[in-house]
Symmetry: C2
Subunit: 278 residues, 2 copies
């Protein structure tokens, strides 16, 4: 029984990773995920649906076994009807942690969206199942998902396409490969449509471990860019032509590295403090 069993009734962790996480050196992010899921007792399910590469699932399976998980199963949902397969739903029902690989987030949402598998993931996360995802697998975790968009630092009204995601939380909008692909503009655009969710720009090999208290902690070798729009005084989003740059006044920005935390309820960033690991 993983930690999920011990804290029955509280939400499991939600762990978006910015892509290209280390799998061969110390695998810090994946190792921490396995530990949270119960370490040697952890049962992990890998969903490689986003990926076109048929080997993706097997590679993560191997990594999670090397990191000491008790049981790892790959569930290669390829068509919508796969998402009703009882034997695979059974695996999700028993898992301590689920890992969504990278690839194309629209392949994930069009395959899983509205199926029994998606409902089960939502329901079990509320009861303690930990769900991690990298790149496309990170994008889909929240209610509002960045499906695709353009590069560049300046927001434009049509710079990004949002779609419904898996819906584990509505407090964040996630972007990944963040500094590697110059995505500040599209994340600013995404949060400016409605300044209610906080934008999380995840660099590669960097993860947010978001606990049931809605406090996230940064892990990995890069940074997380927090785009907090709750104090925005004005934006021209509603009056801009679609290709024009958009002005936004009063965004609060934080760049957080390993050990920093961010409280999504209080909208407060904190530097690392000596304390027990969450």
């Amino acid at each position: 029984m993983g930690e999920q069993g011990r804290r029955n009734g509280t939400r499991g962790c939600i762990i978006p990773i910015g892509g290209a996480e280390d799998k061969v050196r110390d695998s810090a992010i994946l190792r921490r995920f396995v530990r949270i899921c119960g370490g040697r007792r952890a049962r992990i399910a890998v969903i490689p649906t986003a990926s076109q590469d048929p080997e993706t699932g097997a590679r993560y399976e191997e990594t999670f076994k090397e990191l000491g998980s008790r049981e790892v199963r790959t569930l290669p949902f390829a068509e919508r009807r796969d998402c009703e397969r009882k034997d695979w739903l059974e695996v999700l029902e028993r898992a301590d942690g689920v890992f969504l690989t990278g690839g194309n987030q629209l392949r994930l949402s069009t395959t899983l969206g509205g199926t029994k598998a998606a409902r089960l993931l939502r329901r079990r996360n509320r009861k303690g199942l930990h769900i991690a995802g990298t790149s496309a697998g990170a994008a889909i975790l929240s209610e509002h998902m960045i499906a695709f968009g353009a590069e560049g630092p300046t927001p434009h009204a049509d710079m990004v396409t949002l779609a419904p995601g898996l819906g584990l939380t509505a407090r964040i909008i996630i972007d990944q490969h963040f500094r590697q692909r110059d995505r500040l503009g599209r994340l600013l655009t995404a949060v400016s449509y409605n300044p209610t969710a906080v934008g999380l720009g995840l660099d590669e090999d960097t993860a947010a471990f978001l606990g049931p208290d809605d406090v996230l902690e940064v892990a990995g070798s890069g940074a997380i860019t927090i785009v907090d729009p709750t104090e925005v005084e004005y934006s021209s989003m509603d009056s801009s032509q679609q290709h024009d740059p958009v002005s936004i006044l009063g965004v609060r920005l934080h760049i957080l590295v390993e050990g920093c935390t961010y409280d999504l309820r209080a909208h407060r960033a904190s530097a690392p403090a000596p304390r027990e690991e969450r």
Copy 2:
């Protein structure tokens, strides 16, 4: 005290209207809204934020008074800081019904999103406040809002831009002026990104009265097009180029007119039956 008071604890109605609703002849939709809010006891707040026309609020105020409401107040939130005004929040706190006018839904979401006013509307709707909106005011009611998009019957991957809405329900995505502006393609696109929410295409002068049991009833002179994607077997959304047409297999479509109902939990449409009005 309106009906909201009597069914304390259950969600208030959510009433998207397709725009251009009759205000001068029998005003059937607006009359029904007033009746649900308590008729002669109804306290109604009008939010004209979406509109550029400074007279919009006053016109609805007059209409709702003519229809017999006890008290009507216009709250012209124009800037984000207006959404923290205590006297206006007080009005929302006491209202039996709130009406969002038409205009530009991005003006609504950029002005209200993430403010005290938005949080209050969500909270009070869960406890019984009825919230209606027409056109832009309809679009914003749900969690996923169509911000803008292109016309035409065939879906394309980049045909529509979604944004977070007011979030009263995640079960529907709303489009308005539906047959008048040939919007089937963009609604199909919106639901295809993630086949979990049901698309509601509202004709002008047509409303969905969505009760706390997640059953909606159609009222007005036009039709509501229901686009139910829950049995979709396949779509090419994830593999299409942005300007290519997208194929979708297995959408269930219903065209509903006055008196028809649709159950958003069971995904079941019903023809009008002789029964007491909901």
